[in-house]
């Protein structure tokens, strides 16, 4: 424990040099600026900004990433509040309540409670991360290859089968990802697989190219096919601030939201959507002003925003302690680790302690900078929302091309970018979730290596995979996860009634109903 504190202090020393603080500021500002732009979520923000980190030192790059990570999240909530069009499912609630507040002339308070709530949740979340991640990784290094293999398989199954509405479409996306992960030289026998005989493909397809293609190019092409003729109207805003009553009504929801968000984020299949809904119902139940909910209640912004950010911090726990990415943003960040030649996995805390603790210290710093820089800058960010859409999407295409091209300076990467961009477009058109594909690309090769190495050690006996108690436990959990919905179906209950409380469900329907009605009115 004291050891970790010592490392954390060292991390702060490393991160707090003037040069690194500058990187942190750049990261926060870029992350927010790109995250605010409509149509760009946190994962795309990180993917688009990856090239900036190519030639700086790993620690400086991670310091910047910490800023980009929280900045991108914060930028997304600003967009939701001022535009009323959620960029992703976890910010649906913020879009509903926050935009109602903004319409009622309380945009400044909505932005303030979102910003301060994000800060509170981010700080507590990072603290919990610093507490738990080293312990989990210390436990994980004692596990053998069979257990680690089981955990990775569990992450694959959980992300594919639990998140998202259709298991079939999740599976399609996963297998496409695994197929992409095959390309390259087989690590054990040195044979080229699925390379089309191209020597440039023998190291595999650069994951930066895949991430940029799926997140940025695919999204831009999809939006291009459906671009709104008249962009949604932006509500003007001054400097965010909160009155005394706003503080009184916000602080408890912040803490409760954090309590919901962090554990869901840390679980392989938790996600950010469920904790934001749970936080919203809880606040509605506990509020002294339940009649304001659906019309712009500050608790309804404070709680879900905190839950969203705490969940983001939670996803860093499996990422840093086990090397498992569980959401898109973490997956893209993990690709950055790999591009620095850092092997993600449970040994990370042992092998690269200074780097990891610098990253954790930077998360604290980035979170703080976000609060200090962004409250005064909010009016400027609101202006960014008015970027003419042709320029915005032309810009996304431009920077996506630049990012993918700068990796190796070879036109082949641009061909791959286009192919996977079209794949991303297809996935959006047909409702195939993006996350299982990215997780498949990242984990597929690692699972194969782990499986073959454990079998080598086990003398080729498949039974040797089931010798460790942790491995068996994980396989049992996996079976339960897959079978539970089936059993429930047999008992004539749908998955939804299990996951959502009655009140939440009709609230959600009402909320989306109102939202859709508004959208319809707008389009007329």
């Amino acid at each position: 424990m004291l050891d970790n504190l010592g490392w954390l202090i060292q991390g702060f020393e490393q991160a707090a040099t003037p040069m690194n603080l500058l990187y942190a500021c750049i990261g926060v500002l870029l992350g927010t600026a790109v995250g605010v732009l409509p149509g760009i979520g946190p994962a795309m923000t990180v993917a688009l900004l990856l090239p900036i980190t190519y030639n700086v030192s790993p620690s400086a790059a991670f310091i910047m990433f910490a800023g980009i990570f929280y900045g991108g999240m914060y930028g997304g909530s600003t967009t939701s509040i001022l535009l009323n069009t959620p960029g992703e499912s976890s910010s649906v609630i913020t879009a509903i309540e926050g935009n109602k507040m903004a319409k009622a002339g309380r945009a400044a308070q909505a932005l303030a409670t979102a910003a301060i709530g994000s800060f509170v949740a981010g700080t507590i979340g990072t603290l919990l991360l610093a507490l738990f991640a080293p312990a989990i990784s210390r436990f994980a290094v004692t596990l053998g290859a069979p257990s680690y293999l089981a955990i990775m398989l569990f992450a694959l199954v959980a992300v594919t089968a639990v998140l998202g509405s259709s298991k079939l479409r999740g599976g399609i996306s996963l297998f496409l990802g695994l197929a992409i992960g095959l390309v390259g030289i087989d690590s054990l026998t040195g044979q080229a697989r699925a390379t089309f005989g191209l020597p440039q493909l023998s190291d595999g397809i650069d994951i930066v190219v895949i991430a940029v293609a799926i997140f940025a190019l695919g999204e831009a092409l999809w939006v291009a096919a459906h671009l709104r003729q008249k962009p949604a109207e932006v509500i003007p805003v001054g400097r965010p601030w909160m009155g005394k009553s706003d503080w009184q009504r916000s602080w408890k929801p912040w803490l409760r939201g954090t309590a919901y968000g962090f554990p869901f984020g840390a679980l392989p299949a938790g996600g950010a959507e469920l904790p934001t809904f749970l936080s919203y119902i809880t606040e509605k139940k506990l509020s002294k002003h339940p009649e304001e909910f659906g019309k712009g209640a500050i608790e309804g912004v404070a709680g879900p925003e905190a839950a969203n950010n705490a969940s983001a911090a939670g996803t860093l726990v499996p990422m840093l302690s086990l090397g498992l990415p569980t959401n898109a943003t973490a997956a893209v960040m993990l690709t950055a680790f790999v591009s620095y030649g850092i092997q993600p996995g449970p040994t990370l805390f042992d092998k690269e302690p200074l780097l990891i603790w610098t990253l954790i210290a930077s998360l604290f710093i980035g979170n703080f900078l976000l609060l200090v820089l962004n409250l005064p800058l909010a009016p400027l960010w609101a202006k960014l929302l008015r970027t003419p859409r042709p320029y915005l999407y032309a810009g996304i295409l431009f920077f996506a091309t630049l990012g993918a091209f700068a990796v190796n300076i070879q036109p082949l990467d641009l061909v791959l970018l286009l192919v996977f961009g079209l794949l991303g477009l297809m996935m959006r058109r047909f409702g195939l979730p993006v996350l299982p594909l990215i997780i498949g690309v990242i984990l597929g090769p690692r699972i194969e290596r782990q499986l073959r190495q454990s079998l080598q050690l086990g003398g080729g006996e498949w039974g040797s995979l089931f010798t460790e108690p942790v491995a068996i436990g994980v396989y049992v959990c996996m079976a339960l996860l897959l079978l539970a919905p089936l059993v429930l179906k047999l008992m004539h209950r749908s998955e939804e009634t299990l996951l959502l409380v009655e009140d939440d469900k009709d609230q959600r329907e009402k909320a989306t109903g109102v939202h859709e009605k508004r959208l319809r009115e707008e389009s007329k």
Partner: protein
């Protein structure tokens, strides 16, 4: 892949306003992609020389075979599910107007611009190609200020050329402007 994506144009995309479970036939495109990728992976795996049994009990073939067969199975399940009214929910987003029919012409033009970029980036260099690409994309996406489009593109591409060259030490190709930039 440019050909097949034009297909859905004939298929009026039903929006959320019409919840009747119509069959979304365009989804057979996904089946086709799955079969294509799956078949290629299996073909490729079968052509791998085996014979590493002693060092490596699994061999390089098993994984591609599992994944290839998995893709074919997924394609089959989807092919059965489509006529029964199974459909994916198209992505929503901030700038997406779900009530507009899909505009595949714009997408096709953007893809064409992209192909041109791939062909021109080495001979013409990043500064020129990037500027042209930005201007062309902005024009296709509906910006009618042609001069402004090209000026913004030129500023972006030249700035990024120098930022990558001196800031990050990555020399983007200068192309015909070699020696001038």
């Amino acid at each position: 892949m440019t050909g097949p994506i034009e297909k859905p144009a004939e298929q009026p995309v039903t929006t959320q306003e019409q919840p009747e479970p119509t069959v979304d036939r365009a989804q057979y495109l996904v089946c086709a992609v799955l079969v294509l990728v799956g078949a290629f992976i299996i073909y490729d795996a079968l052509n791998l020389p085996a014979g590493f049994a002693k060092v490596d009990p699994v061999g390089p073939r098993l994984f591609p075979m599992i994944i290839g067969i998995g893709l074919l199975v997924m394609a089959a399940i989807l092919a059965i599910a489509i006529p029964r009214g199974s459909r994916g929910e198209a992505d929503a987003g901030e700038d997406i107007d779900p009530d507009r029919p899909s505009d595949w012409r714009t997408v096709g033009l953007l893809v064409a611009i992209f192909v041109a970029t791939i062909l021109l980036v080495m001979p013409l260099g990043w500064a020129i190609t990037g500027a042209l690409m930005f201007a062309a994309c902005a024009t296709v996406l509906g910006s009618k200020h042609y001069v402004r489009n090209i000026v913004i593109g030129a500023v972006l591409s030249t700035a990024s050329f120098y930022a990558f060259y001196s800031g990050l030490g990555i020399p983007l190709p200068a192309g015909i402007l070699d020696g001038i930039l």
